[in-house]
């Protein structure tokens, strides 16, 4: 049994932590995160150069990682830095393309030459791919994709659509998008498809998509653990420094015990993410990912509420970095299926 990162991953982790700490002070981060294109294209390319995207796919598919722990290693660091780069979109896209043997596209993405987004969900189709209504026929896509992460400024949009009953993956560079910032920073878009020309990459992509979405969920779990870790430290530092009634509020036992419970839950989230990472792609992968995303989802909402409350007014201000961590953590529960949705999956798998 061994809970240490491999040498390669530790190097990636260290490099990434240093790079992100240098690059993303909170002002820089917020400037990128809340203003179009809602990330920093030059930094995205640098992250690709550092090997971040290569870590998402296996050597045989053109990367040098691809395991669950490669994903968690990267995303934990992204979470720590509150990094706004659209790596979730890239992760899911490159995983599905690798699965579908689209090696040219994979190479272009791994090297950072092209940036992809994956358009899956629709206003009335969430977790269940079978509910998707967008259609492909005669080389054209029709439908509406909603909250497509990383779509603003993306080079490629990968659209999930049906041809008959089959769920396929289609590539378009011509979709109409309505771009916006997300409330926790970073960009997304509504993608409006109206006889939009597209190329078929696969007309049977369901399994590859489910796997890619699970990789995304795992990434989100690790991102949450990284962000909570930092946020816990910030909260403790704040409490030590904040005076009330003539004393540091860190001495109030009622508050201390709440922080302790938060610390315990972070470790629980870390553990379940490790468990899901170790099973990614193996038997019961989907169930362990759902378990992880459920526990993380339950935790982040409560954690963020506690963090804001423990900071008092300061935690409510835009100026305070912790506020943006709290928003990001909460909104992680909204991405790729919330705690309740994951719980249904766990209950069905039981």
């Amino acid at each position: 049994m061994d809970f240490n990162l491999s040498e390669d991953r530790r190097m990636l982790s260290d490099t990434l932590r240093r790079y992100l700490a240098e690059q993303y002070d909170i002002e820089t981060r917020n400037q990128a995160a809340y203003h179009a294109p809602f990330y920093a294209p030059a930094k995205y390319t640098e992250l690709a150069d550092l090997g971040v995207i290569g870590a998402f796919v296996s050597e045989s598919a053109g990367g040098f990682g691809g395991e669950g722990f490669d994903i968690t290693t990267v995303f934990e660091e992204l979470g720590r830095a509150l990094c706004p780069e659209p790596m979730l979109a890239t992760l899911m896209s490159v995983r599905v393309l690798a699965d579908l043997k689209q090696s040219t596209l994979v190479d272009e993405i791994v090297t950072g030459q092209k940036r992809p987004a994956l358009a899956v969900f629709e206003p009335e189709a969430g977790e269940n791919l079978c509910d998707i209504q967008a259609t492909f026929s005669d080389g054209k896509l029709t439908g509406r994709k909603s909250v497509v992460y990383g779509a603003p400024n993306a080079d490629l949009i990968l659209v999930v659509a049906k041809e008959g009953d089959q769920i396929g993956l289609y590539l378009t560079e011509a979709a109409e998008t309505v771009d916006y910032a997300m409330i926790d920073g970073g960009g997304a878009a509504e993608v409006i498809l109206d006889d939009t020309p597209a190329t078929c990459l696969s007309n049977d992509a369901q399994a590859a998509l489910e796997a890619a979405l699970d990789a995304g969920r795992l990434g989100l779990c690790a991102e949450a653990v990284g962000a909570m870790d930092v946020m816990l430290g910030m909260t403790i530092d704040y409490m030590k420094q904040r005076q009330q009634f003539g004393r540091s509020i860190a001495v109030f036992q009622a508050l201390q015990h709440r922080v302790v419970d938060m610390a315990i839950e972070i470790e629980q989230c870390r553990s379940i993410s490790v468990l899901a990472a170790s099973h990614l792609g193996a038997a019961h992968s989907a169930k362990y990912v759902a378990m992880a995303k459920n526990l993380v989802g339950r935790t982040v909402v409560k954690f963020s509420e506690e963090v804001i409350q423990l900071h008092g007014g300061i935690g409510m201000t835009w100026e305070y970095p912790g506020a943006h961590y709290a928003k990001r953590l909460t909104m992680i529960d909204h991405q790729l299926g919330d705690a309740l949705t994951q719980l249904h999956k766990v209950m069905q798998a039981a």
């Binding site: 509504e190 009634f245 309740l340």
Partner: protein, 395 residues
């Protein structure tokens, strides 16, 4: 035991409801429903409309232009305005300074200031909190030094709600630095046009501008602006904090938000069926509804006791804690109901054809984050727990 309102009270409710139906401007109502921030003009319009019926000074006696309502009527009015998506009243002039002047002000202060509150000439804001003194008001540091017939004020106030619209501010300032914490504090009125005052916006977590910092540098204020006696400010502050307890539980907002949540959960399709048919989500709604039914009665019990003078000191703390927990839980469920579609920011920027959710839910995530303030402002829920604990563990 009788949980019914009287016929007169029910008739009053009907009167308020009819008035709101006929007089609440639709554009303002829509903003409130959609969680769109109101303009200064929206507030002024709404206050003026209420004032046509003398309903603005809800806690004021008739002789000063108030409606002379009892607790139940104020409760009903608060509930009905919330249900109708009317704006919250801007409380600082009407509900805070007004009652203070009525109790502690000179005749001249009453005569000069009260009418200007009701007719909208003045917009008051509050200078209580300081960067180092939030829930712990007694540690405030802003100094007022007597200089002839003036005080000279130096210091900083913060969390000044809607200060950007105000022309006046009432402040707690330290007039006797040698006195013990709560003593040596005075309550003073300041014109915001006085030289030396700077107001800076504080942007909140969800991006909105509703609070401010106010900096005082050698600000000269006539001694006649003092309310009550010098160094009596703590008494006034305490009076103010305990005076206005109606609607502290926010049940009107909760009833309204619960109903809206049910509609939303009916419209939202999740996993192929309306979200409200998911028993796990329905459980959350049902439990919250039950908690809400309970606090409505708790609220009425407290009202009834305070009408008969039997209310305990800590009951408003109880209403504050449980009331905010319920409203915040509803906010959270509304946010949750939106799933991935909660993300767009600011929600009102999206063109209609790209909206991800119904218009009135578009800003639900922002509203959720903004309303985390409910358990922090006005005496945090931790402070409220301390107040209750003091009572429970006394003796």
């Amino acid at each position: 035991m009788d949980l019914q309102f009287t016929k007169e009270e029910e008739a009053f409710r009907e009167e308020v409801r009819t008035f709101l139906g006929e007089n609440l401007p639709q554009d303002i109502q829509r903003k409130v429903r959609n969680n769109t921030p109101l303009d200064k003009a929206d507030y002024e319009t709404w206050h003026a409309i209420l004032q046509t019926r003398n309903w603005l000074g809800a806690t004021w006696p008739v002789e000063h232009g108030g409606p002379g309502w009892n607790n139940y009527q104020r409760h009903i009015f608060g509930e009905e305005t919330a249900l109708a998506y009317a704006p919250r009243l801007v409380a600082f002039g009407v509900a805070m300074l007004g009652p203070v002047l009525l109790k502690f002000g000179t005749e001249q202060q009453k005569a000069e200031i009260l009418p200007r509150i009701l007719d909208g000439s003045d917009w008051w804001c509050q200078g209580y909190s300081e960067p180092g003194a939030g829930s712990d008001l007694a540690s405030l540091k802003t100094r007022a030094v007597r200089d002839g017939d003036d005080y000279i004020i130096n210091g900083q106030k913060t969390w000044t709600t809607l200060g950007q619209h105000a022309n006046k501010i009432f402040c707690l300032v330290r007039t006797d630095p040698a006195a013990k914490a709560q003593e040596g504090i005075s309550f003073i009125l300041v014109d915001l046009d006085t030289p030396g005052i700077e107001m800076r916006p504080i942007k909140l977590i969800e991006g909105g501008h509703e609070v401010n910092e106010v900096f005082f540098t050698d600000v000269r204020v006539p001694v006649s602006n003092l309310v009550g006696q010098e160094n009596e400010g703590w008494t006034i502050a305490k009076y103010l904090l305990t005076h206005e307890r109606t609607n502290i539980a926010g049940t009107g907002f909760a009833i309204r938000d619960l109903a809206a949540l049910k509609v939303l959960a009916q419209k939202t399709i999740r996993n192929g069926k309306p979200l409200i048919e998911d028993p796990l989500f329905a459980k959350e709604i049902a439990e919250t509804e039950i908690d809400l039914e309970a606090i409505r009665v708790t609220n009425l019990r407290v009202l009834s006791e305070s009408e008969t003078g039997a209310a305990n000191g800590y009951e408003s703390s109880m209403l504050k804690i449980k009331g905010t927990v319920i409203v915040q839980r509803l906010n959270s469920l509304t946010r949750q109901a939106l799933g991935a579609a909660a993300a767009p920011f600011p929600a009102e920027n999206l063109p209609a054809n790209a909206m991800t959710v119904p218009e009135d839910a578009a800003a639900a995530a922002a509203a959720y984050f903004n309303n985390r303030k409910l358990s922090i402002f006005g005496g945090s829920n931790e402070i409220q727990r301390n107040i209750i604990a003091k009572d429970l563990f006394r003796g």
